[in-house]
Each structure stands twice: as C-alpha cells, then as structure tokens.
Symmetry: C4
Subunit: 370 residues, 4 copies
C-alpha cells in the first residue's frame, strides 16, 4: 500500500472511498456482512454453507479495514488526520474495522466476535436522505418531547409501585419486586402487552386500565409534537433548497426580492440524473418546469430541440392543453423547478406580467411546431 496511486483502479477506489458519500460497493458490503453475521447464528444454515458465510464475512471485514486505511491515509495527506479519526464517522470506521479482529484476538468465541459486525450498520447513517431534517425536528421540539418523557417515566414508576403493592401477595412469582412490576408497566404503557405478566386482582386491573389509557395519551402527545415540528421543518427545508435555484433563473431574477420570496414558496426543486424522461408524450400533465441547472432535450416530430439553463417547458399543460405533446428527457444531471397547476393559477393572479410571458412563449412554440 506504499504506492496505491500506481494502480488506476485503486486510485479511483481511494478517491471514491475518501469522499463524503458511500460507494455502492460499501452498501453491498454492509448488507452482505450483516446478512452473513445473521446466518452465522443459524446452525443449519451455517452447517450447510459455512465456507460461503466465513468467506463473505472475512471479505467484508477486509473491505472495511481497507476502506478505513485509505480514508485515514487520505485524511493524513490533507492534514486532517486527527479530525477524521476523532469524528463520528472516523470512529465508526475504526470500530467497524477493529472490533471483530480485536475480539477474536482476545479469545472470544468466533460466533460471538462476529456479532460485533452489527456496528457496520452505522456506516449507512450519513447516506440516509432525511436524517438531517429529522434531527432538526428532534432538537427543535426537545423541550416538549422531554416533558412527555418525564411524564412517561412518572406514570411508569407510580403504576409499578401501585401494582406491586396490589399484586405481590397474589402473584409473588411475577410481581415479587418493583423491577418486575416495572417490566410489566413498560410493556403496558407502550401498549405492547406481551401478556407474560398480567395483574389479576380487580384493583390491579383497574390500575392497568388507567396505565393503558395513559399510554394512548402519551403516544398522542408524542405524535402531536413531532407532527407539529415536522410541518415547520418541511416548509423551511423546501424554501431553502428552492431559493438558491430561483435566483439563478433569469426568468425570475428580474423580479424584486419580495416577489422572489413569493415565487419561491410556489416552486419545488427536483434533481434528476441524466437521460431521465421528465415528460412522456400523451400523458396528462399538471405542472410546468424551469431549468435551474443542466439541459433537457425535447423530442419534436422530425427534430430535437435542446433547452438550457433558464428555459421553461411543459407550460401548455397549464394553459388548457392537458395532454403532453412531446417526450422530454434530461441530457445531463439537471435541477428543475416545478410549478404546480395550483400555484401557476396563484402566480397568474399575483404576477400577471409573468403569466403573460409564459403565455406568449407557449403561443410562439405552438406556431413553430405547426
């Protein structure tokens, strides 16, 4: 590994691995590793295919060790060795690479040692799309969520003590201590209800009924808080993403900042890979598109027209002609701004000049195509 750049494939791999996002190979390795780790514990499956299971497990481990090594080297070369090593991601990489070998070296049973492979799952965390949004909601609403958690714990303890007191003489085996009653209470308050520990005295059952209803209440509060936070966060997120693109489209740039803020609320950003069909001929359409970035190709009869940044298309669907009249495909990675029929109506009402421009262009195109 002294001259990894001498092997072009390796160099590419190193570059991909060192980047922020996981490669597809890494996802496959995580999935394969976890599935093999699960199979290792199923005796008949392991006996039948122990070579495959062992081979894949060692292969995955080798991949993660190599990945960690490459990333560490890249970080050291760019002077951020410690920053990476101590970041959340660096630690996950390190534990993923070292936990299993260390456990094996320390003499743990192989079946137990490989269980540590479960930490590989944390490697997918940065790739989860909406995680940042979820975290912001949890942080913003942490106050009320914590209150509900405290209420949850209070109900839990009080119910446990009450049921312990009421049931301990009748069921000394299952309600013989407060921790045993706590086990019952948590299964009841979350409405899981295993049924392995159940009160049988009338008063104990009354307490249980109250706990179940409290469970619904706690749950309802929890959900209500999260729903509220989520609604606010979604609005914010969408506005931010769209704003940036809007100000780059010349069509909107001529507007004052007040109108841009207004328009931003109406648009939705959409990122598409190359060669994706945006509009299919003959389908019914209910939105138009502005190109914020990239190029699209309109497949007209007899010719192909390319539209670039700042152009718009699909506007005929909003002007009475519901059926799409041509296939439109992205030529390269493109970012589009989508204007819905509903919002187009609004725009028409509030910014009539803009609507006129769209209308004029639509008429010009229709003439041209006939």
């Amino acid at each position: 590994m002294s001259k990894p750049l001498a092997f072009p494939g390796l160099a590419e791999f190193a570059a991909a691995t060192a980047g922020r996002n996981m490669t597809k190979a890494a996802y496959v390795a995580v999935a394969a590793g976890v599935v093999m780790m699960v199979l290792l514990t199923v005796d008949p499956a392991y006996e039948a295919a122990h070579r495959w299971v062992d081979g894949l497990l060692w292969g995955c481990l080798a991949f993660f060790v190599f990945e960690w090594a490459v990333r560490l080297r890249h970080a050291v070369l760019t002077q951020r060795g410690w920053a990476y090593a101590l970041s959340g991601r660096g630690l996950v990489d390190a534990v993923g690479a070292l936990a299993v070998p260390l456990a094996l070296v320390l003499g743990a049973n192989p079946k137990t040692a490989w269980l540590l492979g479960i930490v590989w799952m944390f490697k997918v965390v940065p790739g989860i799309p909406g995680l940042r949004q979820l975290r912001r909601v949890l942080v913003q609403e942490s106050g009320p969520l914590l209150s509900v958690l405290v209420i949850f714990l209070m109900v839990l303890f009080i119910a446990s003590v009450a049921v312990y007191f009421l049931e301990r003489d009748v069921q000394p085996g299952t309600f013989g201590s407060v921790p045993a009653a706590l086990w019952w209470a948590v299964a009841t308050l979350t409405t899981t209800g295993y049924g392995d520990v159940v009160p049988i005295t009338p008063l104990g059952r009354l307490v249980a009924a109250v706990v179940m209803i409290c469970g619904l209440g706690v749950f309802g509060l929890w959900t209500g808080i999260l729903a509220t936070g989520f609604a606010a966060e979604t609005r914010r997120d969408n506005f931010l993403k769209t704003w940036e693109s809007v100000s780059k489209v010349p069509f909107f740039a001529a507007l004052g900042p007040a109108a841009i803020a207004d328009v931003t609320h109406m648009l939705r950003t959409m990122d598409l890979p190359a060669r994706t069909v945006i509009i299919r001929k003959g389908q019914t359409g209910d939105c138009m598109y502005f190109i914020a970035d990239g190029e699209v190709e309109v497949d007209l009869p007899g010719k192909k027209v390319t539209l670039g940044e700042g152009a718009f298309f699909g506007e005929m669907a909003l002007l009475g002609n519901n059926l799409r009249s041509a296939n439109i495909t992205t030529k390269r990675v493109a970012r589009l701004l989508v204007l819905d029929l509903v919002d187009f109506r609004m725009l028409m009402a509030r910014h009539p000049d803009m609507a006129e421009t769209i209308d004029a262009e639509a008429r010009r195109r229709e003439l041209e195509n006939k």
Copy 2:
C-alpha cells in the same frame, strides 16, 4: 363470442366492462368470490353447502374471464391491445382470469388453487376514491418516510443482536439465533407484543423496554410525516377541483384572476347524483350553493322553479334566516360549489360588491315568494 353486438344486453355489458370504472356487478363478483374462497377453507361450512360454494366460485371465475376477454377485444379494436394487456390493470385482469385455471390444470389441490382468487381483490383498486391522493402523499414524503424506515431497520437489527447475545444461554429454544431474535424485535418495535418470545434476563428486559419506547418514537415520526403531507395534499386537491368549476360560474367569472384564486380557496366542490335532496325544508342551514353544472328544482308552495348553471340558492341561511324555507332537489347529475357561512363572511368583507349582489337577489326572491 363472434358477434357479441348481436345481443343488446351483451353489448351494453361490453361497453360498461370496457370502461374505466368497474360496474356494480364486478364489485359483487369480487365480494362473492372472496367470501366463497374463504368458506371453501372452512370444512363444516363447505360440507354443508359445497354446491353453492363451488357454483359461485366457478361463476365468479367465468365472469372475470369473460370481463378480461371483452376488455382485451375492446382494446384490440381501438388499437391499444398491448397497452391494455401490459398496463397494471390489464395484468390484474389477466392474472385474475388465468391464475386459478392454470393452477388447477397444473394439478394443484383445488382448495389451494382457489386461494389464488385473492388477486381478484386488486380489481377494486381503481375504484378506491382517495387512492390517488394517498399515493401522492407517499411519493412527496418518500424521503423522510424512508429515513424512518432505515432507522426502524437499524433499531431492529441492533436490538436483535443485543437480545440474542443476552438471552441465548437462558432461552436457547426461543432466542437461539438472530433471526429468532428478529422475530421478537419486530413484534416488540411495532408494539404488537405477541408474548410468544419474551426476554427474561434483567438486561434483556432493559433492551426490550428501550425498543418499545423507540417503537412509539418511530410510530410518532411516521404519523407526523404523513399528517404533514396529507394536510398539504388536501389543500392542493381541493383547490384544483374547485378552480375549474369556479371559472365556469358567470357570477365569479367577472372577477379578476386574483379574486378568483381568492374565492376558490373559500369554495368546496360537491358532486351529486340525480334526484338527491340538497336542502330539506325546516332544517337549519349554514351554507349556500352555486350550480357549476346540472339543474336543481326548488319546491315552492304551489309551483316548482328550476335553477340552471350559474344560479345560486340557499343564500337566505347566510343572511339571518336560519331555517331552510323549501325543499331543493337535483334534477340530474349536478356539480355544486358550496360556500360555508364562515367563508361567506370573509367574502362579504373582501368583495362587498359580490355580497351585495347575493343580498339583492335574496331580497327579490323573498318578495316574489310572499
């Protein structure tokens, strides 16, 4: 089937069957088929009425085969044979018609073969009213929903490995492998809690308690996301449906586009079949109606007045006189725009001229009726 159009009943049936919506007969056939398929598996019921069960099953199957044949023929005649055959609907029709006979031909046990009749249920999918709306919500919110699903899976696997490690020695029968622990984890994280597999060590129970509480959290996030998406979609859907009707009512058409957008937010569309009572004399009313399409009949003492497109009625309820003074019934299928008391107040405030028109007409009618 060479000349189906020679039988008028058959021609009608073919037309109805070939249409987009299911006929009532098809709904009945689906319901009867599924119920019979269920009864087939209940030994005492089948023994008591095996003729009926068998007869109805074969009848339903014949219906579906015939329906598929008619639709296929219709599609071929209109040059869309392959489009239909390969569409979701065409495939459901084909599987519904062929699965059971094929299974019987291939020698499957009849009781097992008829179980394939369950695919008939998919035939009702296009008839579900709000399905399109639901699908849009799921698509729009797919990012966060996917994040929650990934979190769900991570909690599931980590909890399984932890509980497998903690319980395998004490309960080798139920927690003997990670898949067995996964079964426990999924029943716990969804708060189902069968109770067939339950941890008994203190640490295992602690992990279980955490999993249950995570279950509530996952559930809360899920609901919060869906609630947010649903609220946005409902607003959008209602606006779209109403806009079209509003611009057709002359009463509103005189307004500028800004005012129309404003008014659209206040109205709600309502589609009614023929001969439906809209307003019942003597009831208290809190809304007025505009006729976007169709005709209604006002049953005044001594005479019957017909109101057509663009007319409005029920406005007296909004002008102080709460009790409806006449029965009003649709003459044919009608689309009405409903203006609520709340929104009428708003309208009055923002568009006083419109309120005056309504007021004048109401006074004129009252004079006329006395």
Copy 3:
C-alpha cells in the same frame, strides 16, 4: 298521568325532560343503571346486595319509561309526535324504555334481559360536547378514511390467505381455515397482538412482520387524515361561534366588515355560569375580556362596579401591569370574548385606533381608582 300539570314538581320535570338537553337526573340514572347492570353479572356482588341492585335497576327503568312517556306526550301536544318518535333520539328513548320489559315478557333469563340496559348509554350522546365537530370531521374526510379502510381490508385478506397457506400444515389447529387466519391478521394489523395464534414458520413470520409494519402505516395514515381534518374544523368552529358575538359588541361594530373578520380570528368565545370568578386579584394575567352578553362585577376597594354588555376589562395586563388588581366575577350567565396577549399585539399593529381607545380607557380607570 291524566293531569300532570296539577303537580308543580312534575310539570317542571316534564318541561326539563322534554327539552333538548338531558337533566342531571337522567345522567345519574344512566350511570346507576349501567353500574347495576354490570353488578348483576358479578355473582358474589349480586348475592350480597341483590335487593339494592334489583331495586335500582327497576327504578332506572321506571325513570326511562316515564321520561319517554312525558317526551312523547309533549311531542304529541306540539304536533310533532311522529317526528319525535322516529327521530334518532325518540328511537333510543323507546328502545331504552321497552327493550328490557319486552325481553322479560318474552321469557328471557332476567340476567340476560337486563343486559339490554346497555342501550341506555346512547342517551348521553346528545350531551357530548364536541360530538358534532367530530362528526363533521369524519364526514369531510370520509373519502380518504374510506380509502385507508379499503387498504386495511385488502392487507387483511391477502395476509390471511398467505399465512393460511404457509401455516396450515404446521398448525392445523390454529390456522386451519382462512377465517382463523383472519382472526390472527386483524389482531396483528391493529398491533393488538394477543399471542393466542402466532405463525411459527420462517415465511409465515416474514409475512407477519410485513403486516405489523403495514399496521403502523395504516395507523399513521388514519391519524394524519384525522389530524388534518380536525385542524380545519377547529378553525371553522371557533370563527363561527365568535363572529356572532363580535358583531354585537359596540366596540367592534364600528369597524368595517373586513376588520371584523380580521378581529374575529383573534378572539375566543367563553361562556361562563353566574357567580364565577373570572379574574382573581394578584394573579398574573395574559388576556383581556369583552362582554358580549351578561354582566360582571368588579370588586374594587370600597366599592363594587358593574360592567354590562359591550364593556371590556382586564386590559391592564396587556399594557405592562401583569398582576390583576381586582377580583372580577360574573353576576349572571355571561358570554365573554377573550383577547390573548399575542393577538392584542397584532391588533395594536393592524388597528392602532382600537389600541388607543383601550389604552385611553385603561388610563382613565387607573386615575379613577387612585
């Protein structure tokens, strides 16, 4: 009962009973009747107090029979006999009065006959405060709710057939027919999870896991739809209730209709019985009140001031002086409009003249009281 008006107590009772709302006596009778009916089925309790239980049951029944008779007589006298008898309420009253005696006459076991007393519970329905609101939400959102229900049923049937197919050979006792599998599916999809019927094959458990996760999804959709509908309905309800009162307060009546609509959104209606303390001296306050109807008494040092319709009070809390300076009590049933601190700030911003009036009055009162 030929001359009920000769007994003043009876006449009052008849008047109260004939009215729309239940008397407190009726609530007590329903509660007592249901509790006794429950006790009747508990052998030790019934043996210990069978005289009381029997006595109270017959007493309640007599009350309901009498109530029905009085209401029927009142309805007949006011020419609405059939209307009442066939209304939902009239039917509940009739069944409540006749079901138990009829069952006894027809020779049913008394313990079974009295079980019919459960219909008495429906008598409280008109007294439930927010029921009308709930019903409107369910009606408005019936489309999406129905879609979810259909999806629920489809998942139910498909899962049942799948699990029946997978488990019938291994567990013929519990999964021996599709109805038995349906019982398992409904307990699983609702995340109830009794655990009396549980799949044990790996594939059966996989299907079960998918059903549980679908259960969370169905639940989430359901809740999301109801939350959306409820939010809209709450806004509507509050606006309607407040609008009527606002236009009666001279302070607001001078405003144009646009401003009234604006102000209505900021106010909340509050109905109070006589002799209720609205403001307690020394408490911190964050809202002011306008009297829409009724009278209040301000308990100033040395004198008592009475404020009537159209007056306002509590405004000092919004003008910097947080501690309430006097006790204020309703003299008779009063309807107040509450203006919150948040909305007062808004009002101040949008209608500065109104804020000035309040400010001037507050200063005048302060001078007077010193």
Copy 4:
C-alpha cells in the same frame, strides 16, 4: 434550627431550597430515594447491600423533611405560611416528608412503608420544562378530548356486554361477568392485547375485530386533536417569548408596531449560559444573531471584541460567505434572537432598509478585519 443563618452554608441552602426551582441536590435525592426504594423490594439486592439501601433511604427522607421545614419557615417569615402549606407544592413537600414516617409509626411493614417514597417523584414536576405548554393544550382541547373519552367508554361498555353475552357459556372462567369482559375490552381497545382473555367464538371474535379497529380510530382522533392543539400553542408560546426581547433591541425598536409583529414571527429566542460557544470558526452557518440581553466575545485574530445588547453577529453567513470566520462565545448569561436564513430572505424582501443596514455593517466589519 433556631439560628440557621449563623451557618453560612445552611443559609445558602435555605435560600436555594426556598426558591421556586429545585436545587440539583434535590434532583439527586429524588433519584437516589426512588432507586433505593426499588432496590428494597429486590430481595437479593437488599440482602447484599442492606446497609447502603437503608442508609440512603433515611438520608433522602431526612433531606426532604429538612427541605420542607426550611421552606415552611421561609414562608412563615414572609407571611405566606398557609399559602405555601396549602399550595400543590407545599402539600407534595408535606406528604414527601411525613408519609413514610407516619406509616412506620402506624406499624406498617417497613418494605411497604417505604413504597410511599414514590410521592417524592412529584417533586420534579415544577422542573419539567414544557409542562405548562402541555397543560394549556389539554385545557384548550378539553372539549374534543372529552368527547373522545366518552366515545371510548361507550365502545368499552357496549363491547363488554356483547362479548360477555357471546362468550359466557363457552368460557365461564374468563368471561364470567361484565367486569371480566371489561378487562378484556380495555386491553383490546387500547391495542395492548395481553392475550390472557381472548374470545373464541366466531361472533365474539368479530366483535373483537371491530373493537380493535375502533381502538385505532379513537387513538387517531386523540392524536389528531392533540397535534392540532399543540401546533397552535407552539406558535403562541414562541411569539410571546420573542416579542418581549424584540422590542428591547434598538435595531428593531425603530420599526412601527406592525413591522415589529411581523419581525417577531421570524425570530426565535435562545437563552445561553455564560462561556458557551455560539459560533465555531470554520463551521457552516445558516442563521444570524441579535443580542437581546448579555454580552458575547468575538475571537478575532490578534484581538478580542466584545459585543453588547442590541448588537448583531453571524450576518456574513446570510450574505454569501457560508463559513463562520471567528469563534464567538457568551461572556455572561445571554439571551439571543436567532434569525434563520429563510426568514432573513423574507425580511430582506419586506423590509429592504433593514437588510441594507445589516449589509452595510457586514461590509464595514469585513474591511476592518482585513
């Protein structure tokens, strides 16, 4: 305790104890007391460490008795003895101090007597952050919540009677009385589903299925109501908290009241302890800060600049330069107003003069720092 002020430590303790908020010591005492009370019921744990358990329990009790005494004395000295003693908090303190000793004196088994220590948990209630907000939501939405509760109870009773009637002959042991059926119904309607009592007749199972689906519905309504209430309350709470701070910042004070109300909606209040890092150099930022109260220190290369009340910082992140260019730390307890990137854009659109001021200041600072 005649001269507690002679011991400085004791005086401080008394002052801290008498205040509104709990000291950290009190939280520790509650946690320790409850944990020990739980351990007391676990025989092996108690036998192994009975000295520690007993010692800590008596220690906690002494702490609570002392705390109560100090608070009572403080209240008497400030003439509010009875007010404190009869307030919710005074009663909790009294019960926490007296319940266990009284039970021991009255001859209760020590293990039972110490269970009363569970009331100590109520001492944390005033310290729960969002409790006031939660209570307001419950009060505001009490109407609909009560309706749902009544519906819940009606379903409960009706289902119990139905299932009792259907199952009593088949399962006299578990469904032998209506209360026993109620126990089943509550576990089913809350979707807890213990599985200890399960209907086995086909009709009984049908009723159970309906109850489960009703359970989802009740739950959905409950959550929907709470979500709606919570959204309204969150908006209100945030506005109130921010308004006060905004009007103190000179930057905003120049605006008219309408603009202040507008700006208040865009800001969020944040309270920070001393020596907290607000901005870390090199991080990406998406908000700017106004100082409503307190001081912050900007750590520029070579010098430290202190910003006081009314100043703002972090604005460069909103003007194109995403990376924070300096560490910024609070010097003492500070209240900041946070302006998000989204809202800054809005502000820029609606109040361009304000945006210019920020822009000019940002440019001046950049020049100065170079």
